[in-house]
């Protein structure tokens, strides 16, 4: 509360400044024949070091071209980019969350990269399908993948052994997950089978969406005009979560921050989470397994991915060309491999995964990450690429949480959420 005066004032100021300031910087990139481009990224620590190294390598190898990187916290980058766009001096390249893509695509200065990534040698299909889907809005490619992750199950091997359970196999099902969760729960020891984040934000939603897909359902209709999750598949997915809530085998984390500590303290049996959490579990002897499935459906063990994009903004033909050239270099297999090995981030290209020795090398620094890497092959689809998705997500978040907290029955929650989503989609289309 104390600092928000300042924050809101700064945000308003930035917005106003962005809207009123006139562009003065738009042509400053060309000096003496060389081209200077700026890239906004939010890397810290090892990622920052590895990224700075790549940039210095590029700058050395390309005299006459200079890439300047500027740190911008990822959470705030779109606000800052918008301000800069209105001020007439956007960055040439910015790291932007994939969830923003449908909205980012509406910015007139965003460069359409469709022709760029179809050039020979780029091998666009080498990027995972989940990444390509998120970089594509209405058939137009607006970004190059910058980061990829996915959800899998991280489990505590010690707790499994204590409960007399066999570790999960790649063929496991949700009924096995639910049964294991129950067995791993021990109220006397304050031990839970699994955990779920319940603030009702997108983090509460994207843990449910793969269940919906595995059960054979979809979030919206293919044209993104109507809700499609109020289906038998949606009900099955919600019931799975509810079963674990009812049997008290789920630790609810309303803050989205406590669950990692609880897992690291050996109090949670299984977590559905991403590779970014692995490094904060030093105290647990953990294993990683892909997500369970619902037998008898075509959904399989598919998972969900939250890729982010590099987006180019138009600052004139010379700088756009320089930015495209740099991005293609940055996301070429050699650089992707270097960055993954240096940081533990999943490789954004498929061909890097299959490079000999790569998985073993990755696993040495971050045990279990190999399962997350191969799990990228289980990403079959992206969340709906519609500008209304944030609103849809808020509705779904309340739906999931209301069922988990026992405030509504799954079918009633589905109906009510579908009605709200249809309303939101209708009002945004019309």
């Amino acid at each position: 509360m104390r600092s928000h005066w300042l924050r809101i004032a700064a945000a308003c100021g930035a917005i106003a400044l962005g809207l009123t300031a006139c562009g003065s910087d738009a042509t400053s990139g060309n000096s003496g024949g060389g081209t200077t481009i700026s890239i906004w990224e939010g890397y810290t620590q090892t990622e920052a070091k590895a990224f700075a190294h790549l940039i210095s390598v590029y700058n050395k190898a390309h005299p006459g071209q200079t890439v300047n990187s500027l740190f911008v916290n990822n959470d705030n980058s779109l606000q800052k980019v918008l301000t800069a766009v209105r001020g007439g001096s956007p960055p040439d390249i910015a790291y932007l969350y994939g969830s923003w893509a449908p909205n980012v695509a509406q910015i007139p200065q965003v460069v359409n990269l469709t022709h760029v990534v179809s050039q020979p040698g780029v091998n666009w299909n080498d990027f995972w399908v989940g990444e390509r889907d998120v970089a594509t809005v209405n058939g137009k490619i607006i970004g190059v993948p910058a980061l990829v992750d996915n959800l899998a199950v991280v489990y505590n091997k010690t707790l499994f052994a204590q409960a007399g359970l066999k570790p999960p196999t790649p063929n496991w099902t949700w009924s096995e997950f639910v049964a294991d969760a129950k067995r791993l729960t021990n109220p006397a020891k304050k031990q839970f089978g699994t955990a779920y984040v319940t603030p009702g934000t997108e983090d509460s939603v994207w843990h449910w969406e793969p269940l919906l897909w595995q059960a054979g359902g979809s979030i919206l209709t293919p044209d993104n005009k109507k809700a499609a999750f109020d289906s038998p598949a949606g009900l099955q997915a919600l019931n799975t979560l509810r079963d674990m809530a009812v049997s008290h085998s789920m630790y609810f984390d309303p803050t989205d921050s406590a669950y990692t500590n609880v897992f690291n303290s050996g109090k949670i049996g299984m977590l559905v989470t991403g590779p970014w959490d692995l490094s904060v579990f030093p105290n647990v002897h953990y294993g990683v397994q892909i997500m369970p499935s619902y037998p008898g459906t075509s959904g399989g063990h598919q998972t969900i991915s939250g890729p982010d994009n590099w987006v180019i903004f138009n600052n004139g033909a010379a700088r756009t060309a320089a930015a495209e050239k740099f991005l293609l270099w940055l996301t070429a297999p050699a650089q992707v491999k270097y960055f993954s090995l240096a940081t533990g981030d999943l490789p954004i290209r498929r061909s890097v995964e299959t490079a000999p020795g790569f998985l073993a090398q990755m696993n040495k620094s971050l045990p279990g990450v190999d399962t997350f890497i191969t799990n990228l092959g289980n990403v079959r689809q992206a969340r709906p690429q519609t500008p209304t998705y944030p609103k849809v997500s808020q509705i779904l978040g309340n739906m999931v949480v209301s069922v988990l907290l026992g405030k509504s029955q799954p079918q009633a929650a589905l109906n009510s959420a579908a009605q709200q989503v249809n309303q939101a989609l209708a009002s945004s289309n019309g």
Binding site: M1, H4, G13, G200, S257, A258, V401, K407
Partner: protein, 298 residues
């Protein structure tokens, strides 16, 4: 003969303006322009993305009236304010009176009371998240000693807001303590002595002498804390993100959600002006009512 007031010369006037201009320009640019601009935006459909900003008249304001989440947010904001402001003032007054004496280590106690103000909201939130954790928190442990079953706290739509109240009261009490301590220094001993001579007990003296003399400080705290309470954001953002089930969605948090998650900058601006109106009305009432009960010594 009294010297006639000399008009400053033109060059002096110019120098004066030269000194004032940079500051004034910054205030206008970062203060006045955004205020005016958000008024303009509140009449537009504006996502800041496309550059297309059609005027929609009062549509954002009309939508606001019919938005059930706005109604919820107003209710949460008012309930929060009604608990936070008196709570902070009462505890602050109690601690200030307790510490307004010469005992050993008093400066240590006073520093400790104010330390909560120096702690950042994020640390405060993290600490309270763990204190009130339903499974591992110390609060439920103490409740269990009293035979009370464990509570869900931040997981419960009916309790989460009260946890936020507790969190922020704790954070702001130090501020109230400092204000009240300063005001207590201004209560003259001879008045208290005179009251004692007239036969007033300690409680009567406190109620009849000390409390009225503290009234300007109380009015200041009431207004200041209310304005802050109506703009609650940080603690909600850091702990519950408005959940569970919108139970802690207050107006500023909803505004943030509309602007920076849903890209409805026009609608968010309308909510901001609506909030401004609420603050204006509440503050005006406080000053009106407060003046009647405030005693200023001349």
């Amino acid at each position: 003969m009294p010297a006639a007031r000399r008009r400053p010369s033109a060059s002096e006037q110019l120098t004066g303006w030269a000194f004032v201009t940079p500051g004034a320009a910054i205030i206008i640019l970062f203060g006045a322009v955004p205020i005016v601009w958000s008024a303009v935006m509140s009449l537009q459909r504006n996502n800041l993305l496309t550059g297309k900003t059609p005027y929609v008249g009062l549509r954002n304001y009309r939508a606001l009236v019919h938005d059930p989440v706005v109604a919820q947010a107003v209710q949460h904001t008012l309930v929060y304010t009604a608990l936070f402001v008196p709570g902070t003032m009462a505890i602050g007054l109690f601690l200030a009176v307790a510490m307004n004496r010469k005992i050993r280590f008093i400066s240590l106690y006073r520093t400790a009371a104010y330390a909560t103000m120096a702690i950042s909201a994020i640390s405060e939130a993290v600490v309270f998240i763990w204190l009130f954790d339903p499974s591992y928190g110390i609060v439920n442990y103490f409740l269990s000693l009293l035979g009370i079953p464990p509570q869900q706290f931040l997981n419960s739509p009916s309790q989460a807001l009260y946890v936020i109240v507790a969190m922020t009261v704790w954070g702001w009490t130090g501020f109230a303590v400092v204000i009240y301590l300063a005001a207590l220094q201004g209560v003259p001993q001879e008045l208290l002595d005179a009251a004692a001579v007239d036969g007033a007990g300690r409680w009567t003296a406190f109620r009849r002498v000390t409390l009225p003399l503290l009234s300007p400080a109380s009015l200041f705290l009431a207004v200041w804390l209310t304005i802050n309470a109506l703009q609650l954001f940080d603690e909600v953002y850091l702990s519950t993100q408005g959940g569970p089930l919108n139970a802690t969605t207050v107006l500023v948090y909803y505004l943030y959600e509309q602007a920076f998650q849903n890209f409805n900058f026009g609608y968010a601006s309308a909510i901001a002006y609506f909030l401004f109106l609420i603050i204006l009305v509440v503050t005006a009432i406080q000053f009106r009512v407060g003046r009647r009960f405030t005693y200023y010594r001349s």
